[in-house]
Structure formats: C-alpha cells, structure tokens
C-alpha cells in the first residue's frame, strides 16, 4: 500500500497509483480534518493529485523528491505563494 491512513493523517509513499484513488477519496471524505504527508511520496498519479487538490487539505510535509515537489506545490499549497 502506498498510502498509510491514520485518523489524523494520510501518509503517501513511493508511487501512488490510480488504484489508490478510490481509497484516498473515501478516506478524505470520512476525515474532513485530517492532513496529508507527502514526504516519502516519489510520484502520485494525476488522479490522486486532483483528489488532493479538491480536498484542499493541509500538507504537513512536501515530497523529498524535489522535482515532484516543484510540480505539485503550487497546486496543493493552500496559500497562494508557490514553494
């Protein structure tokens, strides 16, 4: 599983494929106040990213992978300043 869910946080790691999207969406809906940790995420499918964008959750940690971070940060930042 590339996503480990707890009550407070979803921790994404490795490569999050489109198969995880259903679970992620469901979890996000059930946990409206939870946060997302992307630190160990190497890549996530655009469908998952869209889901995260729509959820507007606080990202507690950005990916260690600089390239991925650069791509997704502006979209997932709740504030409007990139990076």
């Amino acid at each position: 599983m590339a996503i480990v869910y707890s009550d407070k946080e979803a921790k994404l790691s490795d490569v999050v494929s489109i198969q995880e999207v259903d679970g992620l969406l469901e979890w996000l809906l059930e946990h409206p106040d939870a946060t997302v940790n992307l630190a160990e995420c190497q890549h996530l499918h655009l469908a998952a990213l869209q889901t995260l964008a729509s959820s507007r959750r606080t990202i507690t940690a950005w990916p260690d992978n600089e390239s991925l971070k650069g791509w997704i940060t502006p979209l997932l930042s709740t504030g409007d300043t990139p990076q």
């Binding site: 655009l46 791509w71 409007d80």
Partner: protein, 1028 residues
C-alpha cells in the same frame, strides 16, 4: 476476438470507406492538395491503428500507402490513375484482411506475397517520383522531420550568431519574424537583456505576429507567480520549449498518467498544473476525469518533446520560447501609471543593487496603483524576486533588470541603461549599450506609421554600433539573406490592401536599419535611390534591387500560399500548425495595441510594429490552419456520436412496442370502469392519463425509430467505386450521379437494398450503357450517365435508377420469355411493351447472351425483386429502346411499425395491413351476385369479386350480416387485383409491432405475423396474398 480488435475492424471499415471516397475525389478534384491532405490523414490514422496489433503485412502495405500519399501531398502532380488503382488494390487488401480477421477470430490468413507486391508497387511509384521531383524528397516520410530539424539547426545557429553579431540584424529580424519565422523570433529573443524593451514587444507581440499566438496565450494563461518561478528555474537557459499539455478527460481510462508523462519529458525544467479541482467540493469530484492542464518547460528540442508525446500529439502544444518571455507582463496598459522620476529612482536603485530601496520604491508605487495594470504586475514580480529565498544574486539582478526593461516599455519610457549582468551559466551577454540601441532600433523598425521617429532612433542606434566590418560574417550574411527574402515577399503581397503603403514603409525601414547597422554604406546609397522611387509608388524597382542583393531568388509564389520559399519558412509554417492561431484575435490585439499607443513617444512606435504584419497572419492561417482543423474535427464528431450494438436498439424497439401495447390497454380499462363499475368520472380520468401516456409513448417510439434511421448514403457511398471499377473494366465511360443521399429509412430497409442496388447498377453498366463508340454513333454523348436518386414520398422511400443506355427491347424480351416457357404465345401477343419489359423481373430470366463476371449469372432481376418484396417494397421497370432504362423501387420507410385494419370474423380478430386496404363498405345482400360460381358485386361501376374470409380460412360458420341485411366488405388490393373480402365486422385500425411467427406456427403461410393488442389478446395478421 478482443473488443479492441472488433473496434479496430469496425473503424478500419469506416476508414476504408473514407479512403475510397477520397481517392475518387482526388481523381475528380481540381484542388488535389486539400483532398490529398485529407486522404493522407485517413491513411495515416489507419496505419497507426494497425500498429496496435501484430499484423505486419497489413502495416507494411499501409505504410507504403502512407508514404506515397505523403509524397503526393507535396507533389500532387504525381497523382495519376494508375496510382489510384494501386491504392485501391491496397485498400482491397486491407478490407480482405479485415474479413479474414473476423472469420478466423483474430488469426487472419495473410498473403504476405501479395502484401509485398502491393507495397512494392506503391514504393516503386514513390521512388520514380522522388527522383523526378527532388533528390531531397527521396525519403518522404522523413522529409518533414528532416526539414524541420534542418531549419531548426539553422535557426539555432543564426540565433547564436546573432547574439554576438549584435543588434543591427536584430532589428530587421523582428519584422522578418512577423512574416514567418519562428527562427527569427527566437533569434530576437535570444539577444539578452536590453533587448527586452523591444523584446517585450518582441516577446509578446511579434510572437503573436508570427502566428504563434495560441501558445503565447497558453503561456500567458500561466499564473504570473508560476511564470516567475519558471523563470527562476530556467535561469541559465536562453531558449526553452514551452509545452501546454491538455490530456483528454478520459485519459485515465487509457492508462495515461499525464503527470508522469509530463515529468518524464526529456529536459523538463519546470512544470505547473492548472487544475480547477480546488473549486470542486471533494464530494462532487469525479477523480477519474482528468481536468488538469499541464504547462511545463523543457530544455530539450521541440522534436524531442514531440517524440516523447508521440502518442498524444493532438494534446500538446509545443513552442520555443525565450526564457525572458516568461517575465513579460500582462495586464491593462497605462503608460502614466508611474511617474518618470519614480521609475528612474527605481532603475537606479536596481542598478545600485540597493534592494531595500528597490523594495521601498515598489511598495510605494504599488500602493498607488491598480493591481490589474501590467506595470503593477511587473512591480509585484520584482518584489517577489527580491523576497525570494535562496536566490542567486546574479540571477536576481538579471531578473530585476529584465523586469525593469519591461517596466520601461510598459511606461513608454526610455530604457534605462543598466550595466550588464553576466548570468552565471550564460556568459555571452551583450553590452548594455548595444542592447539599448538595438531596442530602439527594433522599435523604429517595426513602426511603419511613425517612420520618421524611427529613423531618428536608428541613427542614434547605429552610432553606438560596434560592427565587425565591411565583410559580413557568415551569420550576418545568412540573417540578411533571410531578411531580404522576407521583405521581398512582403512587397510581393497584394497591393490592394488598404495597408499596403504602410507595409512598404515598414519594409523600407527594415532595409534602412539593416544596412545602417551593418554599415554597408555603398549599398545604402543605392538603397536610398530605390527607396525614393518606391515611396513614389515604384515598388518594382525596390523588389528588383532586393533580388539583386540576394544570392538566389526563390521562385515567385503567392504569398498567402508561400510555404516553400525556403526551408525555414516551411519549417515555421509547420510549427505554426501546432498552434493554429486565431488570427483575428491576434489582429485585433495588435490593433488595440496600436490604438492604445499614444502618438508621440518613440517607444510607442514599437507598439505599432505588428501593423505591417497584420496582413500576414490574416492570410497565413488559410493555409496553415487547415491541417489542425481537419485533425480536430474527427475527434469532435467522434465524441458526439455513439456506436451502439444493434441488438440494444432492437431491445429498445421491443420495449417500446410493449409499452405501446400496454398503453393501448388503458382505453379498455376506461371502458370497463364506466360500463362495469359505473365510474364515469374515473373513466374520464383514465382517458386523460391515456392521452398523456400516449403522447409520450408515440414520441418515444418516434425517437427510437429515428435512431434506426440511416441515410441512403450508407449504401450509395459504395457506388462510386463500383461504377469506376466496372466501367474501367468494360472500357465504358460512365458518369455516376447520386441524388438524395440524405434520404433516410430504417436500417433494415437500407441494408436490404444494398445487394439489389448493386445488382441493378451492374446490370445497367453491363447491359444498359453502350460502348462509347456505339453511343457516339447513336448521337449520344460518349459518356453514359447513371443516376441514382433517392427521395421520400409520404412514408415511403423511392429509389430510382436511371441510365441513358440502349434500353430494353420489349420484342427481345417477349421472344426470350416465350423461349424459356415463361409465357405462352397468347400472352406474348397480349402484353404491352411495358408489361413485356417487366418480364425481366421474372425468375430465371436473363437476356445476356453470355455470362460475364458482372451479370448474367442467372441471379437475374428476380433476385432483386424478391429482395425488395421481402421488405414490403415494390419495383417497376420502364424502358425506352435507345433512350435508357428506369427502375423505380418503392420501400416503406420503416418496417418496425405496421398499421393494420382489425376485422372480426367468426368472433376472431384478424389484422390486415393498412397499405393493402382500399376501402371498407357495407354491401346489401341483394347486391351480391354470383357469376360463374364467384360472388361479385358492383362497386362504383366496377365489378369486384367477393371472397368470404371464413371460407378462405376454412372456418365453418357463415359470415354474419347486420340488421340492415348488409355484409361488411373490405376492399383490398392484392398485387394488381382488387378484391372484396367479406368479414363479420370492422374494428378500426391500430399500430402494431408485428412479430414473425415462430416455432410450429412459422410454417403457416396464411399469416404474416402476430402482434399483441391493447386488451392483451393476440392479433394475427393476414397475409392476403397467400390466403387468396
């Protein structure tokens, strides 16, 4: 067979149809180029599809076909009939291959030898043509690529060169750029820093002028902050590729991960996602719909990026951009937004790298300003740059200087002379002086109205110019040649345009600036002379002078179609295709720019620059935009139509049939409520409800019938090819006219027509239309005409097939019929010519003396007739010897619903198809006479034989009569006879969905089918022909 393969076969058949239409079109068409483009596109698609499967033979043949068409596209003259034949053969091969796939369930038997021959035939064509046309064209499919690559390298070279060489060339380039070249654009852009002032214009508008607009639009749609971050990431690069990637909404289902594709693009530097998901509530989100647009920048070449996205070429837009473009501001213009002193102070602070002061100035300025202004945008960016953490100070300074230049430009102020900052990775900067000079130059050069202003600037500029010397460097030379070519083409443009004089002014300015900047004094003097005459209207001398300066003069081409003046131009057009720009927008933007620009300051002059190019973008898209359009059309139509299995529609049809039956039960219910339960009120309400349900059900039925409707073109589209093939084989000259192709009828009817019509057409060609020599002798045009006309008459579809051939000789037919024992001699005497001609419809009749491979195999016209009759159609044949033959087929539009008359006999209900019913009458018993054991009556002076339905059906009871001693007689037409059917009573008419009899009942010929009626009982439908 996998669903994918099934779909492949069905699509392939559609595409083959398209190809054969296009092939025929090409033969006829004057505008071969367009048709060939379309043809190529279809073949290309088909070939691409085959790549999904392991069918090497198929792919080989199609690949050859594609190559030939690609070549033919370049060189339509290559097209001839033999090539069409080869292509037809190839397409037949593909069709057979598809059949084979289907028959063998995915393991086709492939005739490799045939495939090789076909491919070889096509390739042979290719080789011979490429030798003729042009050595470079030898590898046609590689051609565009090579060309592109070539021009690209040239572009790069020029660009690099340019940089060092300096501003002079830059100026002309801007204009040139407008006309076509991306290459030029990039060049201009390339030159660092200072140029920005101009460049901003260059960055923004000239780009547009080149026709690159959509990309630019895309670029400007990128969030300003994102662009700034992109710029930061790109520091050290000068020219990058900007990609806008719009994945299909359903791309996830195709296994795509657009984010991964984008991130793995070679040389990806920076990327941004434009995703509206943030505005969608999570609960409403459909995560499997891709709604994100990706913008990213790569340091790789356009070719590499395109290669990376080769599977989704229509979803990406790729464009070279200069990195500094990323900083170009966007927003409302207001050139007095910032006081001159404030601007100067700001620039000085930047120059002094006094960031605290810069920030203070910016804050002060921003607090007074509308944030939508372009100027405000620049200032905000500056501030972001200042506050950005961990930024290289050199890059920061470059960014600030760049922004300052944009700022000056926006404010229409003189560019501030900054000291140049060497970018850490990009050491080859241009001196500040040079840049500012250049900026002014390009400003004036581009102006065509304020040419005087411009000229002054030019002079200043040339003063500062440190030029190589009299002998031009290779790069300058190349650039000059190019500029001159472009100017020449501009001058060649339609001089009727109202802005033609402005165009000439612009050219003159470009030339003056070029020569001034290159310090070619001698040429400059000559130039002055021709310019004088050009100003007085003698443009020709200027053109000649330009041609004299050129090392070679390209062949004259209409500018609007000029696509191969030289490789670079071609290349650009190709690129333009990527962003099939809306030239109107472009134009209007340019115009508004012009209007906005106040008329006195000289920077503003630059704003009007695009004016000279206005005409160009306007014309160019006519050639270039075509391709993307045609590319996009199929995808649009594809998404608007659905392919549905016929079974599903049949099911719908059955359901609506049941619905109608169920609904028809309501009146019975109402009747019962009233009569048995005395609920009159209830009965009325039920009837009201019935009216509503009835209306809806009828509309529904109508819509479902509509779904089943197919245009006549579905079968008629195969005729052109058929006629072409047959007439070529028979060496006859035949012109086929098809009318009423959009006439619609039920799918079953249309499909049942296909075979008979093909047969009729073959007959007409084989027996009807004579050889050209015979025709001429008979005083007819050598080319025969075959007309197939479909039309709608009430609820029937009429198909008429006319030929102007030799017609059918009734005497020959009669003799033949007698010989074959189809008629006896008495009949032979009695038959009218018309009736005789219709004898060909009898089974076993064939007039052809010899059996050919086309017709006369004994299947005859009777096969046609029975096919037509099977769907309740009728056909008639008229012929006039020497003049031609006409066959008329009349078919019901739909076979799904039949209207029947319900009659009662021996307490049973029976249906009689309404189209056979002539009238219903009550005949007094006293008026029934028995003549020769046959009951008859006289109806309106006509003797009508009467038959009792009970007798016919062997029902024991006699027909009942009513109180007035009258029989109920239904007068029907059966074949050509009119007959009166005595029944017990009439029950009105009703629409039914007739079901064929099945099981043991299917052997009973007296009934054609059965249907349910409203009260739930079964109604048998009589087949009168059999009953009688």
């Amino acid at each position: 067979m996998t669903p994918l393969l099934e779909q492949f076969i069905s699509e392939t058949r559609d595409l083959l149809q398209g190809i054969s239409e296009q092939l025929l079109e090409v033969e006829k068409s004057d505008d071969k180029k367009t048709t060939l483009d379309e043809l190529f596109r279809v073949v290309h698609t088909l070939k691409g599809n085959t790549g999904l499967f392991e069918f090497p033979d198929l792919t080989r043949v199609l690949h050859a076909g594609e190559d030939v068409m690609s070549e033919a596209r370049e060189n339509p003259a290559l097209w001839d009939q033999a090539l069409t034949d080869y292509l037809f053969d190839a397409m037949d091969f593909v069709a057979q291959f598809c059949d084979s796939i289907e028959e063998t369930d995915g393991n086709p038997v492939s005739d490799s030898a045939l495939a090789n021959t076909l491919a070889a035939n096509l390739r042979a064509y290719l080789e011979s043509s490429s030798q003729e046309t042009d050595a470079a064209a030898s590898e046609p499919e590689d051609k565009p690529a090579t060309k592109k690559a070539a021009s690209k390298t040239t572009a790069k070279k020029t660009t690099a060169k340019k940089k060092t060489a300096a501003k002079k060339t830059t100026t002309p380039k801007a204009t040139e750029k407008k006309t076509t070249e991306k290459k030029t654009t990039s060049t201009t852009k390339k030159a660092p820093a200072k140029r920005k002032t101009t460049r901003k214009k260059a960055a923004k508008r000239p780009e547009l002028a080149t026709g690159l607009q959509p990309l630019d639009e895309a670029l400007f749609s990128v969030d300003r902050a994102a662009r700034l971050s992109a710029w930061l990431q790109c520091a050290g690069h000068e020219e990058v590729v900007f990609v806008e990637y719009t994945p299909l909404t359903e791309c996830f289902f195709q296994g795509d991960d657009p984010l991964h594709s984008a991130m793995s693009t070679p040389g990806a530097i920076w990327g941004d996602l434009d995703c509206p998901c943030g505005e969608t509530a999570l609960a409403d989100l459909d995560p499997y719909q891709c709604v994100t647009k990706l913008h990213f920048i790569s340091s790789a070449s356009i070719e590499e990026v395109e290669e990376h996205f080769r599977y989704v070429p229509d979803q990406i837009k790729v464009q070279d951009i200069s990195v500094s473009t990323l900083l170009a501001p966007l927003g409302e213009e207001q050139n007095d937004a910032l006081a001159e002193e404030a601007l100067t102070a700001l620039c000085q602070a930047i120059e002094a790298r006094d960031h605290a002061a810069v920030e203070r100035d910016i804050d002060a300025a921003l607090s007074l300003m509308n944030v939508d202004l372009a100027v405000a945008n620049v200032l905000t960016d500056m501030k972001r740059l200042l506050t950005h953490a961990g930024i290289d100070s050199a890059i920061q300074q470059i960014g600030l200087v760049t922004l300052a230049h944009y700022l000056c430009y926006e404010l229409h102020a003189e560019p501030f002379a900054f000291t140049e900052v060497a970018a850490p990775e990009a050491p080859e900067g241009v001196s500040d002086d040079a840049v500012s000079g250049e900026a002014e130059q390009s400003a004036d050069q581009s102006s065509n109205s304020d040419s005087d202003d411009g000229r002054e600037n030019t002079d200043d500029a040339s003063d500062e110019q440190p030029l190589a010397a009299a002998g031009l460097e290779e790069d300058d030379l190349e650039a000059m040649e190019h500029i001159l070519q472009v100017q020449r083409r501009i001058l060649r443009m339609d001089s009727d345009d109202p802005w033609a004089s402005g165009r000439v002014d612009a050219v003159i300015n470009v030339l003056i600036n070029c020569y001034d900047n290159l310090e070619l004094a001698d040429a400059r003097q000559q130039l002055d002379v021709v310019i004088e005459s050009a100003r007085s209207g003698d443009i020709e001398s200027l053109v000649e002078w330009i041609e004299g300066q050129l090392s070679y003069v390209p062949p004259d081409l209409d500018v609007s179609v000029a696509d191969d003046d030289d490789e670079d131009v071609d290349h650009d057009l190709d690129d333009d295709v990527d962003e099939d720009g809306s030239s109107e927008e472009l134009e209007s933007e340019q115009k508004s720019n012009q209007e906005n620009a106040p008329a006195s300051s000289d920077t503003k002059a630059a704003t009007s620059a695009p004016a000279s190019s206005v005409s160009k973008p306007a014309t160019k898209p006519t050639t270039t935009a075509k391709e993307p359009e045609s590319k996009s059309t199929p995808s649009i139509t594809a998404s608007r139509s659905v392919k549905v299995d016929q079974e599903k529609i049949d099911r719908l049809m059955n359901l609506i049939g049941e619905m109608i039956v169920a609904k028809n039960a309501l009146p019975f219910l109402a009747k019962r409520a009233e009569e048995q339960h005395g609920l009159r009120e209830m009965a009325r309400e039920i009837k009201e409800q019935y009216a509503v349900v009835n209306r809806i059900a009828e509309e529904m039925q109508d819509s479902i019938m509509q779904i089943r409707m197919m245009p006549f073109s579905f079968i008629s589209m195969r005729f052109p090819r058929l006629v072409r093939d047959i007439s070529r084989r028979l060496e006859k000259d035949v012109q086929l006219i098809i009318e009423g192709e959009d006439t619609e009828a039920d799918k079953n009817i249309i499909e049942s027509l296909a075979e008979p019509l093909i047969h009729i057409v073959r007959n007409s060609l084989d027996h009807g239309i004579e050889m050209p020599a015979v025709r001429e002798k008979a005083g007819k045009p050598a080319a025969g005409t075959l007309t197939i006309r479909a039309s709608q008459e009430a609820d029937r579809v009429m198909i008429e097939i006319n030929d102007d051939g030799k017609g059918i000789d009734p005497e020959v037919i009669k003799a033949k019929a007698l010989e074959k024992g189809l008629i006896d001699e008495a009949t032979q005497q009695r038959l009218t010519d018309r009736e005789a001609v219709n004898l060909v419809l009898l089974p076993g009749f064939s007039t052809a003396e010899e059996v050919s491979d086309l017709s006369g195999r004994g299947v005859g016209m009777d096969a046609v007739r029975s096919a037509v009759e099977k769907v309740n159609g009728t056909m008639a044949l008229d012929s006039e010897t020497g003049k031609g033959t006409r066959i008329r087929i009349s078919l019901p539009m739909s076979i799904a619903v039949t209207r029947v008359m319900i009659v009662e006999s021996d307490k049973q209900l029976m249906g009689i198809p309404m189209d056979q019913v002539l009238e219903t009458v009550r005949v007094p018993r006293s008026e029934i006479y028995t003549v020769k054991h046959v009951q008859t009556t006289v109806l309106r002076d006509r003797i009508v034989p009467l038959k009792s339905l009970n007798q016919l059906l062997a029902l024991p009871s006699p027909q009942t009569i009513n109180e007035e001693d009258e029989h109920a007689v239904l007068v029907a037409r059966v074949g050509n006879d009119v007959i009166g059917l005595i029944v017990d009573d009439f029950r009105g008419s009703v629409d039914i969905i007739q079901k064929p009899m099945s099981g043991v009942l299917s052997g009973i010929q007296a009934y054609s089918g059965a249907a349910l009626i409203g009260d739930g009982s079964v109604l048998m439908v009589l087949n009168l022909k059999e009953v009688l």
